[in-house]
């Protein structure tokens, strides 16, 4: 038989070349719809009948909606239709994926044995409801569909118990009590679930999270279990449960499809299946990180597992997503800085912007600051309105030139410093906290001079003192803490003690990031402070360890001092997330520099 090619004009003027078999028409789409439970589209219609109807397990389908074309994998099933001529055959496709894969269907096509078959929707082609389209598909698969492996598999899928939008735990023969309090999205497809679970031992075979065609199992054995006394007193006791650690937090890395219905499938050992819908939290960025870490008191001994399997990956994913776009900031210049400054000073501002005013007043005592490249970075958009007139007033009062970088959003200590570093131009850079006030004259000149005299020094800082003149920082050391999985935390030598007489340079494993000076090119080479540390913790240690790996020392110059009015961060019970955030940073630090995760085996 002869074949001819015809160009079909679509609504949006793109033409599709379709090979017609003889004088057959373009196929037709009778119905289509998205089923929430299976997580995919059913496309039902007819096309020209191919020679051989044994499609592979999956076949590529081109789908066009009102705006564009997408390509997806599908299962293709042919079925006989008594209402059609013999040259035509019914087609049923199942396309797993998101409900947002396409909008209003116009046409789909697939290619089998080098021939392309297409089907177009008509004006009356309905988009069916989730339950209806599944019912139609089932009927076809049971009745008219040609018996192939594809058909058997798709039928099995369609005959499984179905999530129809509500919870069905109470239909189970076992008493399973399950609540998901929070489901925090970790873009692009991760989900961190927090809730509680009471179930008889060994009753649950599998917990699966399903969302828009994606799925992932939750390994409850590896999940973080936490105490929930409220659960026991509220519901557990009356059902005979005494389990103290009914709470859980679990991370499912790749199972969430944004915008799609998300639910849990609970399969018992007995084979029974129940469902539970999940409401997705709307938080993102730092507030999502807070939501993940809040209200979790990690039991003793569970620290490594908690972070390795659950909290670590969830928070790392959230942090990467939040910092994915490059930092956006505005630059304001006050005065003209000197042509060739020796030191760029980078000072992040957050919360207490009046520290900037105090700092500049004290800088005005020493001419070296007016000759430096001062860079203040506001990492707190809420303070922008208040800071602008203050900056203007400070400049007019003290006449010290500086640049003010206004970040569009709060990113944290490491990103803010890195933004400052990115615009610094002097050969040396000094990272300085806003609550550091120089005591010694010529602080910057002194530190940079020592550095220039010794190529083996990677980073140098002054002694830092409390208001009462006692030591706030003179070098740090690592202290494994038993109560925190023996992870290495950072302690300050001689903190709170009276300073001993100055005695030149002293080397340490770590010096504090509150005031550290280094060669700018070296700082840039190391990538500044590592932005995997969130808000502010351990990044100075990380930097010093990177230097140590390059055989460069971290030293304190005991001849030079500054005040550091280290604010006591009150960690109130409501601030448990802050504590957990410190643990997160400690985990990142620990895994990178000290102990790799211990192998855990399911209990």
């Amino acid at each position: 038989m002869s074949s001819s090619s015809v160009s079909i004009q679509n609504d949006d003027d793109r033409s599709t070349d379709v090979l017609l078999f003889g004088e057959q028409q373009l196929g037709y789409v009778d119905s289509y719809g998205y089923n929430v439970s299976l997580g995919g589209w059913f496309l039902i219609g007819w096309t020209a009948r191919p020679f051989k109807m044994d499609p592979p397990a999956t076949i590529e389908v081109h789908i066009e909606d009102q705006r564009r074309r997408v390509v997806a994998e599908s299962s293709l099933i042919f079925f006989e239709r008594t209402d059609l001529e013999h040259t035509r055959v019914g087609v049923l496709l199942f396309v797993p994926g998101s409900s947002r894969l396409f909008g209003v269907l116009r046409q789909f096509s697939f290619t089998l044995d080098e021939v392309t078959y297409a089907a177009k929707t008509g004006l009356v082609t309905p988009r069916r409801e989730s339950g209806d389209i599944l019912e139609m598909a089932r009927t076809i698969l049971l009745g008219q569909a040609l018996g192939t492996e594809n058909r058997d598999q798709l039928l099995a899928l369609c005959m499984r118990p179905c999530f129809v939008g509500h919870e069905t735990l109470n239909t189970l023969s076992e008493a399973i009590l399950l609540e998901v309090d929070q489901a925090i999205p970790c873009p692009p497809h991760g989900l961190l679930l927090k809730g509680w679970l009471l179930a008889p031992m060994g009753s649950i075979r599998r917990l699966t999270l399903r969302s828009g065609g994606r799925s992932g199992t939750i390994d409850i054995a590896k999940a973080l279990r936490i105490a929930r006394p409220d659960v026991i007193s509220a519901v557990g006791a009356e059902r005979g449960y005494s389990e103290t650690h009914s709470g859980f937090a679990a991370y499912v890395p790749d199972a969430w499809s944004p915008g799609d219905v998300t639910y849990l499938e609970i399969e018992l050992e007995s084979g029974e299946i129940a469902f539970k819908p999940i409401r997705i939290s709307h938080n993102s960025g730092l507030s999502a990180i807070r939501e993940v870490l809040d209200g979790l008191k990690i039991p003793d001994g569970a620290l490594d597992g908690a972070f390795d399997h659950t909290l670590g990956p969830a928070v790392a994913t959230l942090n990467a997503a939040r910092l994915a776009a490059p930092a956006s900031f505005e630059t304001l210049r006050f005065g003209d800085s000197v042509e060739t400054p020796i030191v760029s000073v980078v000072v992040p501002l957050y919360g207490r912007i009046d520290f900037f005013e105090y700092q500049m007043a004290l800088f005005s005592r020493d001419p070296e600051y007016a000759r430096s490249d001062l860079i203040y970075v506001l990492d707190d958009p809420t303070k922008r309105e208040a800071l602008l007139p203050l900056a203007n007033s400070v400049y007019e009062r003290f006449r010290i030139p500086f640049r003010l970088l206004l970040m569009r959003e709060n990113r944290g200590f490491a990103p803010a410093n890195n933004v400052g570093l990115s615009v610094a131009r002097a050969p040396y850079v000094c990272f300085m906290n806003s609550d550091v006030f120089p005591l010694s004259g010529g602080l910057l000149a002194g530190l940079s001079a020592r550095l220039s005299q010794d190529a083996g020094i990677g980073v140098i800082g002054p002694r830092l003192l409390f208001e009462d003149g006692s030591i706030q920082h003179e070098g740090c050391y690592f202290r494994p803490l038993k109560e925190f999985g023996h992870w290495h935390f950072i302690d300050h030598h001689h903190k709170g003690r009276r300073p001993s007489p100055a005695s030149g340079l002293k080397a340490f494993e770590v010096i504090t990031g509150a005031c550290m000076l280094m060669r700018r090119e070296l700082a840039v080479e190391l990538g500044g402070f590592d932005e995997r540390y969130i808000v502010g913790d351990f990044e100075d240690s990380d930097l010093c360890l990177k230097l140590r790996a390059k055989r460069l020392r971290a030293v304190v110059d005991t001849e030079l001092s500054a005040y550091h009015l280290e604010r006591k961060s009150q960690v109130a019970p409501s601030q448990s997330w802050r504590m957990n955030l410190t643990l997160y940073n400690a985990w990142v630090h620990e895994r990178r520099w000290f102990m790799s995760p211990t192998k855990t085996t399911p209990v």
Partner: protein, 442 residues
Amino acid sequence: MTNRSKTAAPDSRLRTAPRRVLVVSHSHPDLSKGGAEVAAHQLFRTLKGSPDHEAWYLGCVRDAGNAKLGASLSQPYSDHEYLYACQGFDWFKFANLDAEFPNEFRALLNDLKPDVVHFHHYLNVGVEAFLHVRETLPEAQIVLTLHEYLGICHHYGQMVTRPARSLCSEASPLRCSRCFNEFSPSDFFMRDMYIKRFFDVVDQFIAPSEFLAERYVTWGLPREKMTVLENVLPVPTSTAPVARTASKGPLRVGFFGQISVLKGINVLFEAAEILEEQEQYGVVFEIYGDHSGQPPEFQQDFLTRLAKVGRNVKFMGPYEQSRVDALMRSVDLVLVPSVWWENSPVVIQEAIRNRRPVICSDIGGMAEKVRDGLDGMHFPVGNSVALAHLLSQLVEDRTVLGALGDSIRPAVDTAMLTNEFKRLYQAPGSELSSRRTAKAQS
């Protein structure tokens, strides 16, 4: 452009040229009658009237209505007086937030080229003003008269705790934070650093009392920069001889000045009540002053007490400064029952010059300016029983009062005092001023 004085600045190195002095205060006597602005303006007028000096006055005004749009400096009084319309002041560390002020002030300094800038306060102009002077005129001498303990104490500079109002002898970040728990000890530490950074620029401090001088030296000011000199008060107009105190009739006790808790008005009320109970009718209290500037709760309390008071207390209301001598001469003694340290109360100077013995609390500047048993008598601070007893005794034995009248020290000689100030102003070209120049240029 503001209308600035067109006086040419002669070469200040010539000895024969008049010494140029700019007096800076935080207000103006036309706007308020506090001790500092009155003293500052008096100094300005005195210097201006001297043949070997030229003087200007810079004061401040807080109400924005007076500001002339675009110009923060105006001259509503005379061509030697300037008024700065302040915009934005930080009362915690005395920082002037107005971004226009540094330029305006520096331009004024360049116009006037004073040899001496004498600050009678840093409120409203801000402590940074000292730095502006130093940077604009490296050879000028910067003098600061201290009026209360503002640099040391955030509680209105009175070194009295809050809320108990007990006397405080020394500031520390921890203790100050207890009085003001909205501020942390670190905040007070920074406040201290900020203020002292600018006080470092001042060449000479003047304390009206030894007591105040000691407080500031304890706080950290170098003793060698401190001089004790009284404030120059307006010269009294009345030259009539002063009557001696009456030897019979009720003892008239005068209270003059601001009516407030810290000025000890309640001690007066309590003592009056005690005398009434003891049926000691020989003492009459006359209260001259103004309570309208006080918080509403205090005013309410004051009026309530007044209503309940016996016949031995009379509230005479506010008084004109020009009438103070006549009023003081109409009483037998002056009562200064303040429950805070005081510095050098103007009312004590006024009483002395009118030969009126002063009965005062036994602390601070009061105890220093009133020699016990000679210029008057002390009673334990806040102790109304002791005060009542003391007054009772003075009624019983009128010779004591007579003797006091004789032994009162002479009033401060205004001319001599003014000369002391003039001597204090270093001659330009002196060793001290060239050291300053060298430092400023480094």
